[in-house]
Amino acid sequence: MATKQATRLMNVLRNDQMDAKEKLHLVRLKLHHILFGFNDRKGLLLKLVIYMLLLGIGFVYLYPILYMFITSMKSLNDLLDMAINWIPSSFYTQNYQQAYSVLNIRPALLGSIQIALFPTILQVVVSATVGYGFARFNFPLKRLWFGLMLFSFIIPPQILMMPTYRLFSELGLTGSLSAFTVPAGLGQGLNSTIFILIFYQFFKQTPKSLYEAAEVDGANQLVSFFRIAIPMAVPAFIVAFLFSFVWYWNETYLTTLYLTSSSTDITTILIQLQQFETNYQSLYPTTEASPNRINEGIKMAGTVISILPLLATYFFLQRYFVESVDNTGITGE
Protein backbone atom coordinates (compact mmCIF):
# COMPACT_ATOMS: atom_id res chain seq x y z
CA MET A 1 0.00 0.00 0.00
CA ALA A 2 2.82 2.33 0.83
CA THR A 3 4.37 1.81 -2.60
CA LYS A 4 1.06 2.49 -4.27
CA GLN A 5 0.75 5.75 -2.45
CA ALA A 6 4.33 6.64 -3.26
CA THR A 7 3.77 6.10 -6.99
CA ARG A 8 0.62 8.17 -6.82
CA LEU A 9 2.60 10.91 -5.16
CA MET A 10 5.27 10.67 -7.84
CA ASN A 11 2.59 10.96 -10.52
CA VAL A 12 1.37 14.16 -8.98
CA LEU A 13 4.89 15.53 -8.88
CA ARG A 14 5.56 14.62 -12.51
CA ASN A 15 2.37 16.21 -13.66
CA ASP A 16 3.35 19.21 -15.78
CA GLN A 17 0.00 20.92 -15.79
CA MET A 18 0.23 21.95 -12.13
CA ASP A 19 2.44 24.64 -10.82
CA ALA A 20 4.74 24.20 -7.85
CA LYS A 21 2.41 25.78 -5.33
CA GLU A 22 -0.40 23.39 -6.15
CA LYS A 23 1.93 20.43 -5.99
CA LEU A 24 3.23 21.44 -2.61
CA HIS A 25 -0.28 21.77 -1.30
CA LEU A 26 -1.29 18.33 -2.55
CA VAL A 27 1.81 16.69 -1.13
CA ARG A 28 1.23 18.30 2.21
CA LEU A 29 -2.36 17.14 2.29
CA LYS A 30 -1.32 13.62 1.43
CA LEU A 31 1.32 13.52 4.13
CA HIS A 32 -1.18 14.86 6.60
CA HIS A 33 -3.57 12.06 5.75
CA ILE A 34 -0.90 9.42 6.10
CA LEU A 35 0.40 10.71 9.41
CA PHE A 36 -2.75 11.81 11.15
CA GLY A 37 -5.38 9.66 9.54
CA PHE A 38 -8.39 10.40 7.44
CA ASN A 39 -12.01 9.58 8.17
CA ASP A 40 -11.98 6.17 9.85
CA ARG A 41 -8.43 5.26 8.92
CA LYS A 42 -5.97 5.78 11.69
CA GLY A 43 -2.90 7.81 10.98
CA LEU A 44 0.56 6.34 10.99
CA LEU A 45 1.53 8.32 14.07
CA LEU A 46 -1.39 7.08 16.13
CA LYS A 47 -0.69 3.51 15.08
CA LEU A 48 2.94 3.95 15.98
CA VAL A 49 2.00 5.25 19.41
CA ILE A 50 -0.38 2.34 20.01
CA TYR A 51 2.17 -0.28 19.03
CA MET A 52 4.93 1.41 21.02
CA LEU A 53 2.73 1.49 24.08
CA LEU A 54 1.68 -2.14 23.70
CA LEU A 55 5.24 -3.30 23.13
CA GLY A 56 6.58 -1.22 25.99
CA ILE A 57 3.98 -2.40 28.46
CA GLY A 58 4.34 -5.93 27.18
CA PHE A 59 8.04 -5.80 27.88
CA VAL A 60 7.47 -4.45 31.37
CA TYR A 61 5.06 -7.29 31.99
CA LEU A 62 7.43 -9.92 30.76
CA TYR A 63 10.54 -8.45 32.34
CA PRO A 64 10.38 -10.37 35.64
CA ILE A 65 9.81 -13.62 33.82
CA LEU A 66 12.65 -13.00 31.40
CA TYR A 67 14.88 -12.00 34.28
CA MET A 68 13.94 -15.18 36.08
CA PHE A 69 14.78 -17.41 33.12
CA ILE A 70 18.07 -15.72 32.45
CA THR A 71 19.25 -15.61 36.04
CA SER A 72 18.41 -19.27 36.38
CA MET A 73 20.80 -20.01 33.52
CA LYS A 74 23.73 -18.19 35.05
CA SER A 75 26.56 -19.97 36.75
CA LEU A 76 28.13 -18.46 39.84
CA ASN A 77 30.82 -16.79 37.77
CA ASP A 78 28.27 -15.23 35.49
CA LEU A 79 26.27 -13.98 38.45
CA LEU A 80 29.31 -12.25 39.91
CA ASP A 81 30.43 -10.83 36.60
CA MET A 82 28.83 -7.41 36.33
CA ALA A 83 29.46 -7.32 32.59
CA ILE A 84 27.09 -10.20 31.96
CA ASN A 85 23.59 -8.93 31.98
CA TRP A 86 21.31 -10.68 29.54
CA ILE A 87 23.24 -13.45 27.84
CA PRO A 88 24.93 -16.03 30.07
CA SER A 89 28.42 -17.02 28.94
CA SER A 90 27.53 -20.68 28.64
CA PHE A 91 24.53 -22.92 28.64
CA TYR A 92 24.47 -23.80 32.33
CA THR A 93 21.93 -26.25 33.70
CA GLN A 94 23.46 -27.14 37.03
CA ASN A 95 21.07 -24.74 38.78
CA TYR A 96 18.12 -26.68 37.48
CA GLN A 97 19.53 -29.99 38.60
CA GLN A 98 20.06 -28.70 42.11
CA ALA A 99 16.71 -26.95 42.30
CA TYR A 100 14.97 -30.03 40.98
CA SER A 101 16.42 -32.20 43.70
CA VAL A 102 15.49 -29.69 46.38
CA LEU A 103 11.88 -29.24 45.31
CA ASN A 104 10.69 -32.86 45.79
CA ILE A 105 8.95 -32.54 42.50
CA ARG A 106 7.04 -35.74 42.35
CA PRO A 107 5.06 -35.62 45.62
CA ALA A 108 4.74 -31.85 45.34
CA LEU A 109 3.30 -31.99 41.85
CA LEU A 110 0.89 -34.71 42.88
CA GLY A 111 -0.14 -32.67 45.92
CA SER A 112 -0.64 -29.51 43.89
CA ILE A 113 -2.80 -31.32 41.37
CA GLN A 114 -4.88 -32.90 44.11
CA ILE A 115 -5.35 -29.63 45.96
CA ALA A 116 -6.31 -27.83 42.79
CA LEU A 117 -8.40 -30.46 41.06
CA PHE A 118 -10.80 -31.95 43.60
CA PRO A 119 -11.92 -28.74 45.31
CA THR A 120 -12.30 -27.16 41.87
CA ILE A 121 -14.64 -29.87 40.64
CA LEU A 122 -16.81 -29.57 43.73
CA GLN A 123 -16.67 -25.79 43.68
CA VAL A 124 -17.76 -25.55 40.05
CA VAL A 125 -20.63 -28.00 40.46
CA VAL A 126 -21.92 -26.33 43.62
CA SER A 127 -21.53 -22.83 42.19
CA ALA A 128 -23.54 -23.84 39.15
CA THR A 129 -26.30 -25.25 41.33
CA VAL A 130 -26.44 -22.24 43.61
CA GLY A 131 -26.20 -19.78 40.74
CA TYR A 132 -29.10 -21.57 39.06
CA GLY A 133 -31.11 -21.44 42.25
CA PHE A 134 -30.59 -17.70 42.58
CA ALA A 135 -31.23 -17.00 38.92
CA ARG A 136 -34.31 -19.12 38.30
CA PHE A 137 -36.44 -19.12 41.41
CA ASN A 138 -38.08 -16.50 43.49
CA PHE A 139 -38.24 -17.33 47.14
CA PRO A 140 -38.62 -15.40 50.35
CA LEU A 141 -35.42 -13.82 51.72
CA LYS A 142 -33.70 -14.27 48.37
CA ARG A 143 -32.37 -10.74 48.36
CA LEU A 144 -31.01 -11.18 51.86
CA TRP A 145 -29.12 -14.35 50.99
CA PHE A 146 -27.83 -12.85 47.79
CA GLY A 147 -26.58 -9.82 49.65
CA LEU A 148 -24.91 -12.01 52.23
CA MET A 149 -23.24 -13.98 49.47
CA LEU A 150 -21.75 -10.79 48.05
CA PHE A 151 -20.82 -9.71 51.55
CA SER A 152 -18.93 -12.95 52.21
CA PHE A 153 -16.51 -11.94 49.46
CA ILE A 154 -15.26 -8.90 51.31
CA ILE A 155 -14.86 -10.38 54.79
CA PRO A 156 -11.13 -10.53 55.48
CA PRO A 157 -10.25 -14.20 55.75
CA GLN A 158 -8.44 -13.52 59.03
CA ILE A 159 -11.69 -13.04 60.89
CA LEU A 160 -12.81 -16.50 59.92
CA MET A 161 -9.46 -18.21 59.91
CA MET A 162 -9.06 -18.87 63.60
CA PRO A 163 -12.50 -20.29 64.39
CA THR A 164 -12.51 -22.25 61.14
CA TYR A 165 -9.15 -23.71 61.94
CA ARG A 166 -10.39 -24.79 65.35
CA LEU A 167 -13.54 -26.26 63.87
CA PHE A 168 -11.57 -28.19 61.28
CA SER A 169 -9.06 -29.54 63.77
CA GLU A 170 -11.90 -30.68 66.03
CA LEU A 171 -13.45 -32.48 63.08
CA GLY A 172 -10.06 -33.88 62.13
CA LEU A 173 -10.00 -32.26 58.74
CA THR A 174 -6.67 -30.44 58.99
CA GLY A 175 -3.72 -31.96 57.24
CA SER A 176 -5.91 -33.68 54.70
CA LEU A 177 -7.55 -32.85 51.43
CA SER A 178 -10.91 -32.52 53.20
CA ALA A 179 -9.86 -29.16 54.59
CA PHE A 180 -10.25 -27.89 51.03
CA THR A 181 -12.97 -30.08 49.58
CA VAL A 182 -15.46 -29.58 52.41
CA PRO A 183 -15.64 -25.78 52.09
CA ALA A 184 -15.64 -26.07 48.31
CA GLY A 185 -18.52 -28.53 48.45
CA LEU A 186 -20.45 -26.15 50.67
CA GLY A 187 -20.01 -23.22 48.32
CA GLN A 188 -17.37 -21.51 50.43
CA GLY A 189 -14.29 -22.32 48.41
CA LEU A 190 -11.77 -19.81 47.14
CA ASN A 191 -13.51 -16.81 45.59
CA SER A 192 -16.71 -18.84 45.41
CA THR A 193 -18.75 -15.64 45.24
CA ILE A 194 -17.26 -14.85 41.86
CA PHE A 195 -18.11 -18.25 40.47
CA ILE A 196 -21.66 -18.16 41.79
CA LEU A 197 -22.02 -14.73 40.19
CA ILE A 198 -20.72 -16.03 36.87
CA PHE A 199 -23.32 -18.80 36.82
CA TYR A 200 -26.01 -16.47 38.12
CA GLN A 201 -25.39 -14.05 35.26
CA PHE A 202 -25.28 -16.85 32.77
CA PHE A 203 -28.52 -18.49 33.82
CA LYS A 204 -30.22 -15.11 34.10
CA GLN A 205 -29.58 -14.58 30.42
CA THR A 206 -30.97 -17.85 29.19
CA PRO A 207 -34.54 -17.36 28.01
CA LYS A 208 -37.20 -18.36 30.49
CA SER A 209 -39.41 -19.74 27.74
CA LEU A 210 -37.03 -22.66 27.31
CA TYR A 211 -37.71 -23.87 30.82
CA GLU A 212 -41.41 -23.21 30.47
CA ALA A 213 -41.51 -25.30 27.30
CA ALA A 214 -39.74 -28.12 29.10
CA GLU A 215 -42.23 -27.86 31.96
CA VAL A 216 -45.12 -28.14 29.54
CA ASP A 217 -43.49 -31.26 28.15
CA GLY A 218 -43.52 -32.70 31.65
CA ALA A 219 -39.98 -32.12 32.80
CA ASN A 220 -39.61 -31.40 36.48
CA GLN A 221 -37.16 -28.83 37.83
CA LEU A 222 -34.30 -31.25 38.31
CA VAL A 223 -34.61 -32.62 34.81
CA SER A 224 -34.69 -29.17 33.27
CA PHE A 225 -31.63 -28.21 35.30
CA PHE A 226 -29.62 -31.20 34.17
CA ARG A 227 -30.90 -31.47 30.61
CA ILE A 228 -31.34 -27.84 29.63
CA ALA A 229 -29.42 -25.50 31.91
CA ILE A 230 -26.16 -27.43 32.27
CA PRO A 231 -25.61 -28.22 28.58
CA MET A 232 -26.11 -24.56 27.77
CA ALA A 233 -23.69 -23.39 30.40
CA VAL A 234 -20.59 -25.05 28.99
CA PRO A 235 -18.68 -21.75 28.46
CA ALA A 236 -19.38 -20.74 32.03
CA PHE A 237 -18.20 -24.13 33.23
CA ILE A 238 -14.96 -23.79 31.32
CA VAL A 239 -14.13 -20.35 32.66
CA ALA A 240 -15.10 -21.31 36.22
CA PHE A 241 -13.06 -24.49 36.07
CA LEU A 242 -9.93 -22.81 34.73
CA PHE A 243 -9.99 -19.88 37.11
CA SER A 244 -10.79 -22.00 40.09
CA PHE A 245 -8.00 -24.42 39.22
CA VAL A 246 -5.44 -21.65 38.87
CA TRP A 247 -6.53 -19.92 42.06
CA TYR A 248 -6.40 -23.12 44.06
CA TRP A 249 -3.03 -23.98 42.58
CA ASN A 250 -1.64 -20.59 43.54
CA GLU A 251 -3.18 -20.54 47.00
CA THR A 252 -0.54 -20.54 49.69
CA TYR A 253 -2.20 -18.98 52.70
CA LEU A 254 -4.62 -21.80 53.35
CA THR A 255 -2.30 -24.56 52.25
CA THR A 256 0.37 -23.33 54.66
CA LEU A 257 -2.19 -23.11 57.43
CA TYR A 258 -3.77 -26.50 56.93
CA LEU A 259 -0.91 -28.56 55.58
CA THR A 260 2.27 -27.40 57.28
CA SER A 261 1.04 -26.86 60.81
CA SER A 262 -0.08 -30.45 61.21
CA SER A 263 1.77 -33.58 60.27
CA THR A 264 0.81 -34.71 56.82
CA ASP A 265 2.33 -36.09 53.67
CA ILE A 266 0.58 -33.71 51.33
CA THR A 267 2.74 -30.92 50.06
CA THR A 268 2.43 -28.56 47.13
CA ILE A 269 4.95 -27.05 44.80
CA LEU A 270 4.43 -23.59 46.22
CA ILE A 271 4.94 -24.78 49.78
CA GLN A 272 8.17 -26.34 48.61
CA LEU A 273 9.15 -23.05 47.03
CA GLN A 274 8.43 -21.21 50.27
CA GLN A 275 10.69 -23.60 52.13
CA PHE A 276 13.22 -23.65 49.33
CA GLU A 277 16.08 -22.09 51.22
CA THR A 278 15.80 -24.24 54.34
CA ASN A 279 15.36 -27.39 52.29
CA TYR A 280 18.35 -26.47 50.21
CA GLN A 281 20.53 -25.98 53.24
CA SER A 282 19.61 -29.33 54.69
CA LEU A 283 20.24 -31.07 51.38
CA TYR A 284 23.50 -29.31 50.57
CA PRO A 285 24.99 -28.41 53.93
CA THR A 286 27.29 -25.45 53.72
CA THR A 287 30.77 -26.13 54.91
CA GLU A 288 33.59 -23.66 55.17
CA ALA A 289 34.38 -22.32 51.71
CA SER A 290 32.18 -24.83 49.97
CA PRO A 291 30.85 -24.10 46.51
CA ASN A 292 27.39 -25.17 47.57
CA ARG A 293 26.10 -21.88 48.90
CA ILE A 294 22.65 -21.04 47.62
CA ASN A 295 22.66 -18.26 45.04
CA GLU A 296 20.15 -16.31 43.00
CA GLY A 297 20.56 -18.63 40.06
CA ILE A 298 19.42 -21.65 42.03
CA LYS A 299 16.54 -19.78 43.63
CA MET A 300 15.35 -18.55 40.27
CA ALA A 301 15.68 -22.03 38.81
CA GLY A 302 13.42 -23.27 41.60
CA THR A 303 10.91 -20.54 40.85
CA VAL A 304 10.96 -21.37 37.15
CA ILE A 305 10.34 -25.02 37.85
CA SER A 306 7.48 -24.15 40.17
CA ILE A 307 5.65 -22.06 37.57
CA LEU A 308 6.42 -24.35 34.66
CA PRO A 309 3.42 -26.71 34.96
CA LEU A 310 0.89 -23.88 34.95
CA LEU A 311 2.79 -21.99 32.28
CA ALA A 312 2.72 -24.98 29.96
CA THR A 313 -0.98 -25.51 30.58
CA TYR A 314 -1.64 -21.84 29.97
CA PHE A 315 0.01 -21.85 26.58
CA PHE A 316 -2.19 -24.71 25.48
CA LEU A 317 -5.38 -23.37 26.94
CA GLN A 318 -4.85 -19.61 26.78
CA ARG A 319 -7.57 -19.23 24.18
CA TYR A 320 -10.09 -20.46 26.71
CA PHE A 321 -8.77 -18.17 29.42
CA VAL A 322 -8.76 -14.93 27.53
CA GLU A 323 -11.82 -15.45 25.38
CA SER A 324 -14.05 -17.23 27.81
CA VAL A 325 -14.77 -14.13 29.83
CA ASP A 326 -16.57 -12.67 26.83
CA ASN A 327 -18.81 -15.70 26.59
CA THR A 328 -20.02 -15.85 30.14
CA GLY A 329 -21.66 -12.47 30.10
CA ILE A 330 -20.32 -11.66 33.55
CA THR A 331 -20.04 -8.07 32.45
CA GLY A 332 -23.80 -7.86 32.12
CA GLU A 333 -25.78 -6.65 29.20
Partner: protein
Protein backbone atom coordinates in the same frame (compact mmCIF):
# COMPACT_ATOMS: atom_id res chain seq x y z
CA UNK B 1 -49.36 -23.54 45.27
CA UNK B 2 -46.89 -22.64 42.56
CA UNK B 3 -45.31 -20.06 44.85
CA UNK B 4 -44.62 -22.71 47.44
CA UNK B 5 -43.07 -25.08 44.92
CA UNK B 6 -40.77 -22.34 43.73
CA UNK B 7 -39.71 -21.54 47.27
CA UNK B 8 -38.97 -25.18 47.89
CA UNK B 9 -36.90 -25.56 44.73
CA UNK B 10 -35.09 -22.30 45.28
CA UNK B 11 -33.99 -23.34 48.72
CA UNK B 12 -33.13 -26.80 47.47
CA UNK B 13 -30.75 -25.36 44.91
CA UNK B 14 -29.04 -22.90 47.22
CA UNK B 15 -28.99 -25.37 50.12
CA UNK B 16 -25.28 -26.28 49.85
CA UNK B 17 -24.30 -22.66 49.93
CA UNK B 18 -26.72 -21.92 52.75
CA UNK B 19 -25.27 -24.67 54.94
CA UNK B 20 -21.77 -23.51 54.07
CA UNK B 21 -22.57 -19.91 54.83
CA UNK B 22 -24.14 -20.66 58.18
CA UNK B 23 -21.48 -23.10 59.33
CA UNK B 24 -18.33 -21.70 57.72
CA UNK B 25 -19.00 -17.97 57.62
CA UNK B 26 -21.69 -16.87 60.04
CA UNK B 27 -20.82 -19.21 62.90
CA UNK B 28 -17.07 -18.49 62.73
CA UNK B 29 -17.84 -14.79 62.53
CA UNK B 30 -19.87 -14.89 65.72
CA UNK B 31 -17.22 -17.04 67.34
CA UNK B 32 -14.46 -14.70 66.31
CA UNK B 33 -16.39 -11.78 67.72
CA UNK B 34 -16.71 -13.72 70.97
CA UNK B 35 -12.98 -14.40 70.91
CA UNK B 36 -12.25 -10.74 70.48
CA UNK B 37 -14.18 -9.94 73.64
CA UNK B 38 -12.07 -12.34 75.67
CA UNK B 39 -8.54 -12.87 76.79
CA UNK B 40 -7.68 -16.30 75.54
CA UNK B 41 -5.03 -18.35 77.19
CA UNK B 42 -3.88 -21.78 76.18
CA UNK B 43 -3.63 -23.84 79.35
CA UNK B 44 -3.05 -27.56 79.88
CA UNK B 45 -6.82 -27.88 80.37
CA UNK B 46 -7.53 -26.45 76.99
CA UNK B 47 -8.45 -22.92 76.07
CA UNK B 48 -9.32 -20.56 78.86
CA UNK B 49 -11.52 -17.57 78.30
CA UNK B 50 -11.43 -14.51 80.50
CA UNK B 51 -14.03 -11.93 79.64
CA UNK B 52 -12.31 -8.70 78.73
CA UNK B 53 -15.04 -6.58 77.21
CA UNK B 54 -13.74 -4.16 74.65
CA UNK B 55 -10.25 -4.10 76.11
CA UNK B 56 -8.77 -5.97 73.17
CA UNK B 57 -10.17 -3.43 70.76
CA UNK B 58 -8.78 -0.60 72.84
CA UNK B 59 -5.41 -2.30 73.01
CA UNK B 60 -5.29 -2.68 69.24
CA UNK B 61 -5.48 1.07 68.90
CA UNK B 62 -3.64 2.19 71.99
CA UNK B 63 -1.00 -0.40 72.71
CA UNK B 64 0.03 -2.03 69.49
CA UNK B 65 2.93 -0.11 68.04
CA UNK B 66 2.64 -1.38 64.52
CA UNK B 67 -1.06 -1.51 63.80
CA UNK B 68 -1.80 2.18 63.28
CA UNK B 69 1.46 2.67 61.45
CA UNK B 70 0.84 -0.24 59.09
CA UNK B 71 -2.76 0.76 58.67
CA UNK B 72 -1.85 4.28 57.60
CA UNK B 73 0.69 2.92 55.16
CA UNK B 74 -1.82 0.45 53.82
CA UNK B 75 -4.56 3.04 53.42
CA UNK B 76 -2.25 5.40 51.56
CA UNK B 77 -0.88 2.65 49.37
CA UNK B 78 -4.35 1.42 48.54
CA UNK B 79 -5.70 4.83 47.68
CA UNK B 80 -2.92 5.19 45.16
CA UNK B 81 -2.67 1.64 43.89
CA UNK B 82 -6.33 0.95 43.28
CA UNK B 83 -6.82 3.84 40.85
CA UNK B 84 -3.47 3.14 39.22
CA UNK B 85 -4.37 -0.48 38.60
CA UNK B 86 -7.86 0.26 37.31
CA UNK B 87 -6.83 3.15 35.07
CA UNK B 88 -3.96 1.12 33.74
CA UNK B 89 -6.23 -1.83 33.03
CA UNK B 90 -8.63 0.45 31.21
CA UNK B 91 -5.84 1.94 29.09
CA UNK B 92 -4.56 -1.49 28.12
CA UNK B 93 -8.05 -2.75 27.39
CA UNK B 94 -8.69 0.23 25.14
CA UNK B 95 -5.40 -0.26 23.34
CA UNK B 96 -6.27 -3.91 22.77
CA UNK B 97 -9.74 -2.99 21.66
CA UNK B 98 -8.24 -1.09 18.72
CA UNK B 99 -7.71 -2.84 15.47
CA UNK B 100 -4.16 -4.04 16.21
CA UNK B 101 -2.23 -7.00 14.95
CA UNK B 102 -1.15 -9.80 17.30
CA UNK B 103 -4.05 -8.95 19.56
CA UNK B 104 -4.12 -12.52 20.84
CA UNK B 105 -0.44 -12.46 21.69
CA UNK B 106 -0.74 -9.22 23.63
CA UNK B 107 -3.75 -10.52 25.50
CA UNK B 108 -1.82 -13.64 26.38
CA UNK B 109 1.03 -11.55 27.77
CA UNK B 110 -1.16 -9.25 29.82
CA UNK B 111 -3.06 -12.12 31.32
CA UNK B 112 0.02 -14.18 32.08
CA UNK B 113 0.56 -12.75 35.59
CA UNK B 114 -2.77 -14.13 36.76
CA UNK B 115 -1.37 -17.57 36.05
CA UNK B 116 2.13 -17.28 37.47
CA UNK B 117 1.87 -14.63 40.15
CA UNK B 118 1.37 -16.51 43.37
CA UNK B 119 2.63 -15.39 46.75
CA UNK B 120 5.96 -17.25 46.90
CA UNK B 121 6.81 -16.47 43.28
CA UNK B 122 6.22 -12.76 43.80
CA UNK B 123 8.21 -12.71 47.01
CA UNK B 124 11.11 -14.44 45.25
CA UNK B 125 10.99 -11.85 42.49
CA UNK B 126 10.75 -8.94 44.91
CA UNK B 127 13.77 -10.30 46.76
CA UNK B 128 15.69 -10.21 43.52
CA UNK B 129 14.61 -6.70 42.73
CA UNK B 130 13.08 -7.89 39.49
CA UNK B 131 9.88 -5.92 40.00
CA UNK B 132 11.12 -2.39 39.33
CA UNK B 133 11.22 -1.03 35.83
CA UNK B 134 14.79 -1.81 34.81
CA UNK B 135 15.95 1.12 32.72
CA UNK B 136 14.49 3.76 34.96
CA UNK B 137 16.97 5.64 37.01
CA UNK B 138 15.63 5.32 40.53
CA UNK B 139 17.85 7.94 42.13
CA UNK B 140 16.77 10.71 39.82
CA UNK B 141 13.11 9.90 40.33
CA UNK B 142 13.62 9.83 44.08
CA UNK B 143 15.33 13.19 44.17
CA UNK B 144 12.65 14.79 42.01
CA UNK B 145 9.91 13.34 44.16
CA UNK B 146 11.59 14.48 47.33
CA UNK B 147 11.92 17.97 45.99
CA UNK B 148 8.30 18.18 44.92
CA UNK B 149 6.36 16.48 47.67
CA UNK B 150 6.47 16.13 51.44
CA UNK B 151 8.46 13.13 52.59
CA UNK B 152 5.58 10.83 53.45
CA UNK B 153 4.00 11.27 50.05
CA UNK B 154 7.30 10.95 48.21
CA UNK B 155 7.88 7.71 50.08
CA UNK B 156 4.57 6.34 48.89
CA UNK B 157 5.25 7.35 45.31
CA UNK B 158 8.74 5.90 45.23
CA UNK B 159 7.28 2.72 46.65
CA UNK B 160 4.91 2.74 43.71
CA UNK B 161 7.81 3.01 41.28
CA UNK B 162 9.78 0.30 43.01
CA UNK B 163 7.00 -2.22 42.80
CA UNK B 164 5.38 -1.01 39.63
CA UNK B 165 5.53 -4.40 37.98
CA UNK B 166 3.92 -6.25 40.86
CA UNK B 167 1.23 -3.60 40.88
CA UNK B 168 0.64 -3.96 37.18
CA UNK B 169 0.59 -7.70 37.59
CA UNK B 170 -2.56 -7.34 39.65
CA UNK B 171 -4.50 -6.06 36.67
CA UNK B 172 -4.97 -9.20 34.54
CA UNK B 173 -8.56 -9.95 35.47
CA UNK B 174 -9.52 -6.29 35.29
CA UNK B 175 -8.15 -6.00 31.75
CA UNK B 176 -10.23 -8.99 30.64
CA UNK B 177 -13.38 -7.57 32.18
CA UNK B 178 -12.88 -4.16 30.59
CA UNK B 179 -12.11 -5.75 27.25
CA UNK B 180 -15.25 -7.86 27.38
CA UNK B 181 -17.45 -4.85 28.06
CA UNK B 182 -15.68 -2.60 25.54
CA UNK B 183 -16.36 -5.11 22.82
CA UNK B 184 -20.05 -5.01 23.60
CA UNK B 185 -20.41 -1.28 23.00
CA UNK B 186 -22.37 -0.78 19.82
CA UNK B 187 -20.05 0.58 17.09
CA UNK B 188 -23.00 2.45 15.60
CA UNK B 189 -22.88 4.78 18.58
CA UNK B 190 -19.38 5.88 17.70
CA UNK B 191 -20.27 6.21 14.06
CA UNK B 192 -23.22 8.43 14.83
CA UNK B 193 -21.06 10.56 17.11
CA UNK B 194 -18.37 10.87 14.42
CA UNK B 195 -20.95 12.03 11.88
CA UNK B 196 -22.12 14.66 14.33
CA UNK B 197 -18.53 15.85 14.49
CA UNK B 198 -17.40 14.32 17.77
CA UNK B 199 -13.69 13.72 18.18
CA UNK B 200 -12.27 10.50 19.60
CA UNK B 201 -11.54 12.35 22.81
CA UNK B 202 -15.18 13.39 23.14
CA UNK B 203 -16.33 9.89 22.23
CA UNK B 204 -14.28 8.50 25.10
CA UNK B 205 -15.79 10.81 27.70
CA UNK B 206 -19.34 10.85 26.37
CA UNK B 207 -19.80 7.26 25.19
CA UNK B 208 -17.17 4.86 26.46
CA UNK B 209 -16.87 6.04 30.02
CA UNK B 210 -20.58 6.25 30.86
CA UNK B 211 -21.19 2.81 29.33
CA UNK B 212 -18.50 1.06 31.32
CA UNK B 213 -19.08 2.96 34.55
CA UNK B 214 -20.70 0.02 36.38
CA UNK B 215 -17.76 -2.16 35.44
CA UNK B 216 -15.30 0.43 36.68
CA UNK B 217 -16.96 0.18 40.07
CA UNK B 218 -16.81 -3.63 39.97
CA UNK B 219 -13.14 -3.49 39.06
CA UNK B 220 -12.40 -0.97 41.80
CA UNK B 221 -14.06 -3.19 44.38
CA UNK B 222 -12.35 -6.30 43.07
CA UNK B 223 -8.96 -4.59 43.15
CA UNK B 224 -9.48 -3.22 46.63
CA UNK B 225 -10.57 -6.56 48.04
CA UNK B 226 -7.83 -8.52 46.36
CA UNK B 227 -5.20 -6.05 47.60
CA UNK B 228 -6.65 -6.06 51.08
CA UNK B 229 -6.80 -9.84 51.36
CA UNK B 230 -3.53 -10.68 49.64
CA UNK B 231 -0.88 -12.56 51.55
CA UNK B 232 1.67 -9.83 50.86
CA UNK B 233 -0.28 -7.39 52.96
CA UNK B 234 1.69 -6.40 56.09
CA UNK B 235 -1.42 -6.09 58.26
CA UNK B 236 -2.50 -9.59 57.46
CA UNK B 237 0.91 -10.84 58.43
CA UNK B 238 0.70 -8.78 61.60
CA UNK B 239 -2.56 -10.46 62.52
CA UNK B 240 -1.05 -13.82 61.76
CA UNK B 241 1.96 -13.05 63.96
CA UNK B 242 -0.22 -11.91 66.85
CA UNK B 243 -2.26 -15.07 66.65
CA UNK B 244 0.71 -17.20 67.65
CA UNK B 245 2.13 -14.61 70.01
CA UNK B 246 2.34 -15.86 73.61
CA UNK B 247 1.23 -12.65 75.30
CA UNK B 248 -1.32 -11.51 72.77
CA UNK B 249 -3.09 -14.62 71.53
CA UNK B 250 -6.26 -15.24 69.55
CA UNK B 251 -8.42 -12.72 71.35
CA UNK B 252 -6.18 -9.84 70.45
CA UNK B 253 -5.66 -11.09 66.91
CA UNK B 254 -9.41 -11.43 66.40
CA UNK B 255 -9.97 -7.91 67.64
CA UNK B 256 -7.34 -6.68 65.22
CA UNK B 257 -8.90 -8.59 62.34
CA UNK B 258 -12.24 -7.04 63.17
CA UNK B 259 -10.84 -3.54 63.25
CA UNK B 260 -9.15 -4.22 59.93
CA UNK B 261 -12.44 -5.44 58.49
CA UNK B 262 -14.17 -2.26 59.63
CA UNK B 263 -11.54 -0.19 57.85
CA UNK B 264 -11.96 -2.19 54.64
CA UNK B 265 -15.72 -1.80 54.77
CA UNK B 266 -15.27 1.94 55.28
CA UNK B 267 -13.04 2.10 52.22
CA UNK B 268 -15.60 0.19 50.18
CA UNK B 269 -18.25 2.55 51.47
CA UNK B 270 -16.24 5.52 50.20
CA UNK B 271 -15.96 3.85 46.80
CA UNK B 272 -19.67 3.14 46.60
CA UNK B 273 -20.49 6.66 47.71
CA UNK B 274 -18.27 8.16 45.04
CA UNK B 275 -19.87 6.00 42.38
CA UNK B 276 -23.48 6.04 43.51
CA UNK B 277 -26.08 6.49 40.84
CA UNK B 278 -27.36 10.01 40.87
CA UNK B 279 -31.11 9.93 40.83
CA UNK B 280 -32.37 11.30 37.56
CA UNK B 281 -35.23 13.66 38.12
CA UNK B 282 -38.27 12.96 36.02
CA UNK B 283 -39.32 15.86 33.93
Amino acid sequence: MKMKRETLYGYLFILPWLIGFLSLVLYPMIQSFYFSMNDMRITPHGLQFVYAGFNNFLNVWLQDMFFIQELMAFALDTFIRVPVIVVFALVIAMLLNQDVRFKGLFRTIFFLPVIVASGPVISQLVDQGATAIPMLNQDIIMSILNALFPTWFAGVLSNLFNEIITILWYSGVQILLFLAVLQKIDPNLYEAAKIDGGSSWECFWKITLPTIKPLILINLIYTLVSLANSGQNPIINLIYANMFNATRGYGFASAMAWMYAVIIVLMLGILLLAFREKKVKKR
